[in-house]
Subunit: 685 residues, 2 copies
């Protein structure tokens, strides 16, 4: 296969891509080239119409994508949600017109010419970047680089997990990715690729758009990696092909389908292929070509059709490609109809929880109401998992190399290992970001409810992926332990201070911080039941006494509630706390009540749910006329919402320190005595 | 050199490391081994005394570290801040006792036995993880994995930049790193290593503690990378040695000093070396050995001394090693004394800004007061940089492959390239996290004020490193453009919503969001002047009209101020905004004033500085009795602090959408008309 490598040299003048491009354009125009040109033309037209967008990538990768979509990708445009379809992930999401063009041409409903004409306009499914939920064939939201790549690793893991559970007759599909230089420069690509290589995800194939161009210019400005060698070091198969040679690409794709290792195919391409001036330059990356260059590009392709026009012959060829998988899908439907696990498969893929899924948890809660166990919430979380994981077979756990600290494992539930998927626990390694993105991929794939663990402070490493889970409304659960200075000696690098606030600021994320075992179980129930978004469980390292002895209603469901009403008279203060500080509030209240200052104690394990309650309930809980006091071993940021302007806050003034936990609580003044004194003083003043 | 590889096989039983350990212990005990044993014994003792900590790593890496510190590392314990010292970074910060033991033994003041006895106690310089500022020889705060590694890349870059500026007679030192499996699993290691390889940082050497163990157990649970091949793919030199063979290590270190590429030395070690039961297992990683195992470990070493005791002979040998660099330092001081750039070198290294550094900026501001330019703040930021960068030669810019969007480059200021350090701009590539951590390293090195660029939304990718800059109080400046839905069509993945809040929640970080050109210049002045912490500049993509026409006082210095007082009577409402929404507030105020509703408009470009003002000033600005209305194209989280319970907020209800910016502002109701209507209704109600 011809390599373009010698022709495309960085920084040389004049633009050396143009000679290579001329040579490619001089090749006989096969039907495959014409089909690819249709993708190019639509990308050019849509970006021109929108007056913004990224034409260069679709123009460069059209040949490779056409080979994939017409010969290898298993799909049926008639049912883009067919569970056993191959997954296609456009990690380089800025090239969204590549995907929209392919969806349109293959005949997917809901991606008509009228939608492409409204590329990047309000309410169009053809958004600036592919957005999950805007069209059923969009597998994941991409754009933030590296995320799609790592989602795909999770999808390929989900495929293996479900194949182990339901058998290859129901689950046997591949995952394909188009990734850019930027995707591979991002650190998350290291974590995800290393994990994929370790787990030998042979059904994962990445087409790397190896075009030597990034936004700042030639990649030689910042990049000298030998990408093939790098991926081989991860245990991948890796090769480079001419990305404009359909036969070479098809051969490489064929090889990939036989590999027992994940495969990287570096497609050497010319960004903005066919544009006579901008091809091979960053100028074609992120802006319309402009009318003249756009016309000249089409002319170079021999594309003589008007904007958004596709000749009937090509439409037919593409339409046929769009139904290539119809027979496979029909056969699969027959297999499903007769499959003994049909109902269970359909239930899991639909994201419906099993009948009675929370009964074991209810039993545990009833037991705890009796026993009042004093447990760290990371330990009560583990007990809750022992009740949940056997009852909810789609739950798949893991930890970023902190299993014993996060308590995310469940006895008798094996971990997966390379080649053995008969497990429901993942040793993700020290790869928080890759873990979170892979979990998104598993949730998006369907049939899996992923949960994971690391320290709360390292939630920062996962933040870009958690944000995407929130944006895509995916059910993923992050167990984030060691949630305050209560972790002690490891010091300020490991002590979250601002993390509760920063996660609470994120739209559509539920942040749970239970204060005792009962609340931990309740929060787990809410997180698993939440089908339309991610949850974070912030859990203590240290033991916490039980304050809840009622097991009926899930009281955390309202986000906040009165744990103890004032007993010595009508409330003068409301002490509002979460997690380990509920006990500080209770003890402070005891001190104050003993002095005749009536206090209520409120537990606020989930701000987002509390905010959803009606104003009357909130006012009743917070106490309209009482002094409101927030107690949380964290930054004050955000607390004003509940405390009002006259409120008091007892918490962290800044970063933590290295010392035993009890010394730190005293040092930072997060104690019942300090809280009581502050209330006393304020009420006297 | 002997390799331990065949002996340490994952998961075999019984513990295969023990045979290898026995073989090593049977070797003749050289003085070097004895010196290393002193490091081991101190680590064992300190962790036992603290009843917590990580003995395994220091015990495993003591031999390699001893070879480095006694033969290669250029330092003088008498002056740990000697500017031309080699930098030593313990990226695997959990093994902090390795560093403290070395500092103690080499005779550094302020790390006496009394400090080691108080390992991990409040106010001890021997904190759980190395904390910058706790001892002058601690080069950086480490613990969050991968960060130290990437800091070191920045330090090595700083060395090259300063050597280019001041010559090798003042700047000629190396950077050494001890890194763990976890460091290399983190994505940031990919970004930093790839950048280091690209830039050919030959004076950077990483000793990889290749011990096959991570917290969850054997690394084979989650890792199959060929680390050597991986680093070779980045353009590094890479080799593996027996990490307990001092001669082999020294030979490898010697080779590294001759390399024109960065070097990875994989030291095959036994974690917890000498512990008869726990060596080679995760049990020695993160917990005290326990008295019996500790005693047995010392006995296996032939170490017959009491806790924290070091025999005089070894003390002398170590003390001598601690002054090895004294001669080099003295010679350097002579060279400095005679150097024509002495004053400038000392000024830059001390972090003092040049005399008159902000005069060009003042001139620009005076000009803008006249011209009232309508510019995007990312563009006025660039103009400010054109005034600052020539006047402040230690400023070194860059971008994570968004130079043309972030406007971080300055005409006439060249970029560095592999082998050519005569520049002050870095093409970081699509490596936000690596960039931020490298910037921390540059700031820590001294002599550089790094600033960088990416989109605000990708601030999430850098968050763990920004946190460390805040914790270490380092002057780094992040230019984060496209700061709202104002970025338009790229859609919700690229539109920050919660990022202002999440950064405002972080202790010691200043978040600036200027509203016009004048404010952009003022915020830049404050960010550069801020010697004790990082700053973020959140800047608009879209043009913003000027509202400031006064250029005297830097009004942003107070964090918030009245832009326009109510004119039709005494204030009934205060419209408080930042950035691009100040103009929305001004236009809303015009509408309301025209109806006879007197409104003041407040610009709040920096909450942290505003919070530092006295209560009287804040009350005057916010208007005690007025209706307070926050207007910001962002999440409401945190605004209650300024708005009170009766306040109104006009902003983003959740994630954004893909559409032209002006459509989005209308769609989300962030317009003067909507704001005015809300105020009108509330005041009527």
């Amino acid at each position: 296969m011809a390599s373009l490598e010698p022709d495309i040299q960085p920084k040389a003048e004049p633009n050396p891509a143009l000679a290579a491009q001329a040579a490619i354009l001089a090749r006989p125009a096969t039907e495959e080239r014409r089909m690819a040109d249709a993708v190019r033309a639509l990308a050019i037209d849509a970006v021109e119409a929108a007056k913004s967008g990224h034409p260069g990538m679709p123009m460069g990768m059209a040949d490779a994508a056409t080979a994939l979509w017409t010969k290898f990708l298993k799909f049926d445009a008639a049912d883009p949600r067919w569970p056993d379809r191959d997954r296609f992930v456009l990690s380089a999401g800025h090239g969204s017109m590549l995907l929209y063009g392919l969806l349109h041409l293959t005949g997917h409903a809901g991606m008509g010419i009228e939608h492409l004409r409204r590329f990047r306009q309000l309410h169009s499914p053809a958004a600036g970047h592919p957005e999950f939920g805007e069209h059923p064939a969009i597998e994941t939201t991409t754009g933030p680089l590296g995320q799609g790549f790592a989602n795909a690793v999770g999808m390929a893991m989900a495929e293996r997990l479900l194949a182990a559970r339901f058998g290859p007759e129901l689950v046997d599909h591949r995952t394909w990715v188009v990734a850019s230089d930027g995707d591979l420069m991002e650190g998350i690509s290291h974590e995800a690729a290393s994990l994929a290589g370790h787990l030998r995800l042979g059904k994962l194939t990445v087409l790397y758009d190896d075009n030597n161009i990034s936004i700042d210019g030639d990649t030689s400005l910042s990049l000298s990696d030998d990408a093939l060698k790098r991926f081989e070091a991860y245990g991948w198969a890796a090769r480079r092909v001419d990305g404009h040679d359909a036969a070479a690409i098809s051969a490489a794709l064929g090889e990939a389908t036989k590999s027992d290792r994940p495969t990287l195919i570096a497609c050497r391409t010319i960004i903005g292929f066919s544009a006579p001036k901008k091809a091979g330059t960053a100028a074609s990356h992120g802006a319309p070509l402009g009318p003249d260059e756009a016309a000249a590009a089409k002319s170079a392709l021999g594309w003589n059709h008007g904007p958004f026009e596709v000749p009937e012959g090509l439409r037919e060829a593409w339409g046929k490609a769009g139904r290539r998988g119809a027979g496979a899908r029909e056969a699969w439907l027959w297999r499903l109809a007769e499959h003994p696990q049909r109902a269970e498969f359909e239930r899991a893929m639909a994201g419906r929880l099993p009948e009675g899924w929370n009964a074991p948890l209810a039993a545990l809660r009833a037991k705890w109401a009796e026993e009042k166990p004093k447990l760290a919430t990371r330990v009560s979380s583990q007990r809750a998992l022992e009740a949940l994981v056997p009852a909810v077979p789609e739950m798949v756990g893991g930890s970023a190399d902190l299993t014993g600290s996060n308590n995310t494992n469940v006895k008798g539930v094996p971990a997966v290992s390379p080649g053995n998927w008969d497990g429901r626990y993942i040793h993700y390694g020290v790869r928080e970001h890759g873990m979170a993105a892979a979990m998104n991929g598993m949730a998006l794939h369907g049939g899996i409810i992923p949960y994971s663990g690391t320290f709360l402070v390292f939630g920062d490493y996962m933040r870009p992926s958690i944000r995407l889970a929130a944006l895509m409304r995916q059910r993923v659960v992050h167990v984030l332990t060691h949630d305050s200075i209560g972790l002690g000696e490891d010091g300020p690098t490991h002590q979250p201070v601002e993390h509760l606030a920063s996660f609470r600021a994120m739209p559509n994320l539920h942040v749970f911080r239970p204060g005792d075992a009962m609340e931990a179980a309740e929060c787990w129930e809410l997180a698993v039941a939440r089908a339309d978004g991610p949850s974070v469980l912030a859990l203590s390292r240290q033991n916490l006494p039980a304050f809840r002895v009622d097991a009926g209603e899930n009281r955390c469901a309202r986000g906040g509630y009165v744990v103890a009403e004032a007993s010595s008279g009508s409330r003068r203060a409301t002490l509002i706390a979460s997690g380990s500080e509920v006990q500080v509030a209770l003890a402070a209240s005891d001190l104050l009540e003993a002095e005749g200052i009536p206090c209520a104690v409120v537990s606020l394990p989930c701000w987002e749910l509390f905010a959803e309650q009606d104003e009357g309930y909130r006012a009743e809980v917070l106490g309209e006329d009482a002094l409101r006091v927030g107690i949380e071993a964290a930054a004050e940021f955000g607390w004003s919402r509940w405390l009002g302007e006259r409120g008091l806050f007892i918490g962290m003034p800044g970063f933590g320190a290295s010392a035993p936990a009890e010394h730190l609580f005293r040092h930072f003044g997060i104690t019942p005595e300090v809280a009581a004194a502050a209330v006393r003083k304020r009420l006297a003043g």
